[in-house]
Each structure stands twice: as structure tokens, then as C-alpha cells.
Symmetry: C2
Subunit: 343 residues, 2 copies
């Protein structure tokens, strides 16, 4: 069968014949096929229609030849059934209106029941497993509590996250209540994904990197630990935060199987910081895909060489692939990683 | 006279009676007095009118009791006489239109002659020295070549800096030409500030933190070295980049006297990374000023304690003070630092 053992074995730190690779946001706007689908459906429609979500998930699998598929969805999908009003405006990103800034607001939120509240996600996963027939494994994912909280409190993306941090600093009971509800939701949601067939899961604490180590440890770490402790650990769990060089050891303390690394740190330095005993995923700068087709393999080689220091390495970008990226350059990267890492 | 020796002595790693403090963007929108001035003048008018710039520079000195004044200006001021069209739109940030994206565009740019092209900056510094009568020292500043280039190539602020990195990767001659002109301009500009009375200067490479260590070393480090080597080193030079935990040792390699540290790294870890032999400036999270008035001194104390590991410590935020900050909280921080660090 399949090359799924490559990705999963690397996650477990086992021997692999070559380094597996997948790309964050590999199903997305950089592909014409995806833009064609988006011309017919809104973003939320794609997320909520299993057949469409499966089609989009599979688009990059054949074209790129990546070693894993990742569920097409959005981290904010769980916020609607919790009680938030969510919208995606073209070019502006997600909006949650009204935002959640008081204990009273937060008390109205409920912990979701995934199979009832977001059944389309699990249906997508089941359909994906069926369609893929074991060709590549399927990765599920969720936002981490803090990253989800950031959208709920700010009402969308932010630059300085003043509302978020103000609530965190000044309304600790409200913040903790929100984080607890989010952690419980994330646990149920990821466990439901695993039950529906996800063969690995990634926890995206995308915005954790805006915190000082002090604040991460005090306000966020306990909830990431709660999530990791609550997961059905039958599949590998990957932990990823962007801009997190100074948080890596604290993120690792939650107990993931694999650490995702962003591009702002040399991969070998990240491996050293982590103690060299955990598989890593990453970490090419997404803008490196704007290099010439000749340069891309050189960058891939550097990262492959650094990745050898870890007990396992899954190649990926250090953040999601950017919409203006040339798909052929993404393919050139995948080919280069496959070729250069062959034993 | 004056407490200027405190700040300057800390910059030189000499003994101080208490830790000096100033605040990035201490003259700015968080103060009512500043907003009153802005109601009468555009931002660029304030920068270009020495009397007004001096008034704004001095506003926080009495109110906060900080240990240094910093020239009121903007890092992009030098771009106009170089040949760029610069505008500040309320709420949108700076815009450079058209942006500079080809070698032909860049070849039209000129290196400035500061006393002819931006005389108001040097006039402001001279007037500041006179008005301050030695009460506190005056800090001059400039953007670093890469940060200035980012605005010129992107045409303003950016999220992923695709235009910037694309030019850097693919049009090396154009990028290097731009960086060279910017470096020459920055050298002349900072030396003119020093000649006009700046008693320390800070080089802001605000956006360097978007680069992988690889790219910083390959594309940017030589130009920061060029700048530092070209400065009249009669006054301390502070080097600052935001989000730069993984670049600190490379930034230090350019040879500054003091390293500015952003808030995403523990100050003691930063000092260790730097080898413990260079004074540091920083690094409270600007959002920590949204904590209660009782919590702020606790955070200040933590950072003061960590700062003791360095041969000198100037207290500051890890980035500019945020506009919605309560001025009394800024004052509470300054008072706390003064009180807690008293020997």
C-alpha cells in the first residue's frame, strides 16, 4: 500500500527511507483548481460540504505528491456552535461580531458535541479515508484554546492583541472560563476527528508567539496541557505555533509527539532547544518558494541536513503556503525533498 | 546637572545608582497633549517643524520623568529626499506610492545630504539640546536599511513581505543597490544627528525579525555592518529589531554598543544568547501596561532582576507604547523602575 507509513513513522521517530513532506495550507488559493471551487462556493460552504471539502483536500495530493493529506477546514469552525457569529469577508479575514469581552458573554458559550454540531468535519474525514484508500494518511487539526480565544476576544485578527491581553490580565476569571470551554471543545473535537479516522492531528496555537514566555507559562500552558492530556493518544499529535522560538520548550512541555517549527529559527537550533529527543516538522520560509526553481532544492537540502539531528523529521514550510505562490515551485520543493532525502 | 550620565553610563556598561528608563514612542498618541498637537498639525508637519517636534519630544519628559528624550521623527523621513513619494494616512500607516520594485526604479534614488535635505531633523536636535539644558540626554535614530527597504519595496506595511523577499531573492543586484543607497543614507543621516547633538543613536531594524537567520546573514547583515562601521562612534549606538530572538547574536555582530531586546524572549535568556558582555535595553511587553497599577511594578521587578546579568541595563518596553495605553500606567512603570532599582 501507500506511503502513509513514511509520515506516521517519522512522527513516531522511526526509521524512514526518505523524509516525508506535506505543506501547511497545501489545499488553498495558490492552486487554480481551488480558486475554481471557490468561484462556485463560499469558504464556509466548502468547509461544511463534505464532498466539496474532500475534493479540495485531494487537489494537492496528486499534483504535489505530498506524503499526507490534511482535512480542509478552518480552525474557527467550532466557534459557531459554541455561540459565536462567524463570517469570512474576502480580503479581510475572519470576523466574530460581537466579540466576547465579558464574563457574561463568555458564560453563554457552550462546549460543542462534534458529531452533532460539526458533523460535516467528521463526515469529511470518513469520506477522505475512503477516497484515499490508504494512499496517504489524513491529518486532522484544531486551533488551540489561546488562538481561538484571540479571535473571540479581538473579534478577528489583530496587530497588538490589546483586547485579548487586557482581558487575560484584568479579567482572569473570564479569560480562564473562556479557555476552559475552548479546551473542552478542542478535546472533544480532536477526539471526534480521531474517531472518524484522522491518522494524526495538529494543534495550531498560531498566535502563541505574541506572548512573552512569562505570559505563555502563566496564562496558556495549563490549557494546552489540558488539551494534550485529554486527547485519545492513539495517533501522533503535532504542536505548532508561529514565531515561537522562545516558547518551544514550553510548548513541548504539554507533551506532543512532534513539534512544528516556524521559519524564524534554524531547524538545528530548534532541535537543540527541544533537547534533541522529539521529532520535528518544518521549517522552510514560505517566501522561499519565490526563489528561482534552481535555488529551492538548495534551501530544501539545508533544512534536510539540519533535520537529521532530530529523531524524526517531517518536511514542511514554517507557516502556510502563500496565495501568490507558483504551484510549480511548491511541486519543485516536494520533488526536491523526495529526491534529496532518499536513502 | 542632570541625570544624563545614568542613561549614557548604562549604555557604556558603567556603574549606575539606579536603572535608567525611557520608552519607545514615549512622545505619541497615548498622551492627550500629543493628540492636541496632532489636531493642529499633520504627522509630517510635526516631524518637519522643529519647534513643534521639540514640544512633542518634551511632553513626556516632565510627565514621565524618563531618563532620556528621543527625537520626535519617523524612520521614513529620509525616503522623501531619496526620491520616494511618502504619505501617512490615518489608521492605515505609511504609504509609498509608487513602490520601488525594479533596478530602474532604484537607480533613480539618491543618497541624501542630511543638512540640506532634512535640515529640520538636525534643527530639532539642536533646539532640543538647548531646551533640555542637560536635564536628560537626547537620543537620535534611524531606520536600518532593510526596514527602510521593506517600506520602499512593499509600498507600506505588509503581512508576508512577498514583494520584498521576491526582489531580495530574484533581483539581487537591484536589492543590493537599494540596500547600499539606504546604508549610505543612514550613515550620513545618523552622523549628521550626532554632529547636531544626539548623545546616543538607535538603529531600528524593526522588520528584521521576519527573516530566517539564513536570510538575515546572507542579505542584511553586511549592510548593518556597513552602517555601524560608517558611524562616528563618539556616542553609544543601540541596535533594535522586533521579534529578533533568533537573530540577536547576528545583530550583535554588526558591533553596536547596546542591544535592544523585544518582549518575546526572557531578558536573561537574551543576555545569555548575547554572551553576557553587552549592555541591553528592554524588554517589557507593551501590553503589560494594560495590567492593573499593582501588577506593573511586579513585572518591572522581574525584568530588573533579569537585567542584572548584563554589564548594563536600560529599561524600556520591548516595542513602542501602544496608543490606547493609560499614561498614568506608563508613569507608574517609570516610577516603579526608579524606585525598585535604587541602590
Amino acid at each position: 500500500m501507500s506511503n502513509d507509513y513514511l509520515f506516521l513513522r517519522a512522527c513516531r521517530g522511526e526509521e524512514v527511507e526518505r523524509t516525508p513532506i506535506w505543506i501547511m495550507r497545501q489545499a488553498g488559493r495558490y492552486m487554480q483548481e481551488y480558486r475554481d471551487m471557490r468561484a462556485k462556493h463560499t469558504f464556509l460552504e466548502l468547509c461544511k460540504t463534505p464532498e466539496a471539502a474532500v475534493e479540495v483536500t485531494l487537489q494537492p495530493i496528486d499534483f504535489l505528491g505530498v506524503d499526507a493529506a490534511i482535512l480542509f477546514s478552518d480552525i474557527l469552525i467550532v466557534l459557531e456552535p459554541m455561540g459565536a457569529k462567524l463570517a469570512f469577508h474576502e480580503g479581510r479575514g475572519p470576523v466574530i461580531d460581537p466579540p466576547f469581552r465579558t464574563l457574561a458573554d463568555i458564560e453563554k458559550l457552550r462546549v460543542i458535541e462534534p458529531e452533532e454540531d460539526v458533523p460535516f468535519v467528521m463526515d469529511t474525514l470518513r469520506l477522505l479515508r475512503k477516497e484515499l484508500e490508504g494512499r496517504v494518511p489524513v491529518i486532522g487539526f484544531s486551533g488551540a484554546p489561546f488562538t481561538l480565544a484571540s479571535y473571540m476576544i479581538e473579534g478577528g485578527t489583530s496587530k497588538a492583541f490589546i483586547q485579548l491581553k487586557s482581558l487575560m490580565y484584568k479579567e482572569r476569571a473570564a479569560f480562564d472560563s473562556l479557555m476552559t470551554k475552548l479546551a473542552k471543545t478542542v478535546i472533544k473535537y480532536m477526539n471526534a476527528q480521531i474517531a472518524a479516522g484522522a491518522e494524526a492531528v495538529q494543534l495550531f496555537d498560531t498566535w502563541a508567539g505574541i506572548l512573552s514566555p512569562h505570559d505563555y507559562i502563566e496564562f496558556v500552558a495549563p490549557f494546552n496541557k489540558m488539551v494534550l492530556d485529554g486527547l485519545n493518544r492513539t495517533v501522533p499529535v503535532i504542536m505548532y505555533a508561529n514565531g515561537s522560538a522562545t516558547l518551544l520548550k514550553h510548548l513541548k512541555a504539554a507533551g506532543p509527539d512532534v513539534m512544528g517549527i516556524d521559519w524564524r529559527i534554524n531547524l538545528d537550533d530548534a532541535i537543540d532547544l527541544l533537547g534533541g529527543d522529539i521529532p520535528v516538522q518544518g521549517n522552510l520560509d514560505p517566501t522561499a518558494l519565490f526563489l528561482s526553481r534552481e535555488e529551492i532544492p538548495k534551501r530544501a537540502k539545508e533544512i534536510l541536513d539540519m533535520g537529521k539531528k532530530a529523531p524524526g523529521h517531517i518536511f514542511n514550510l514554517g507557516h502556510g503556503v502563500l496565495p501568490p505562490t507558483d504551484p510549480d515551485n511548491v511541486k519543485a520543493l516536494v520533488d526536491a525533498v523526495h529526491e534529496l532525502s532518499q536513502k
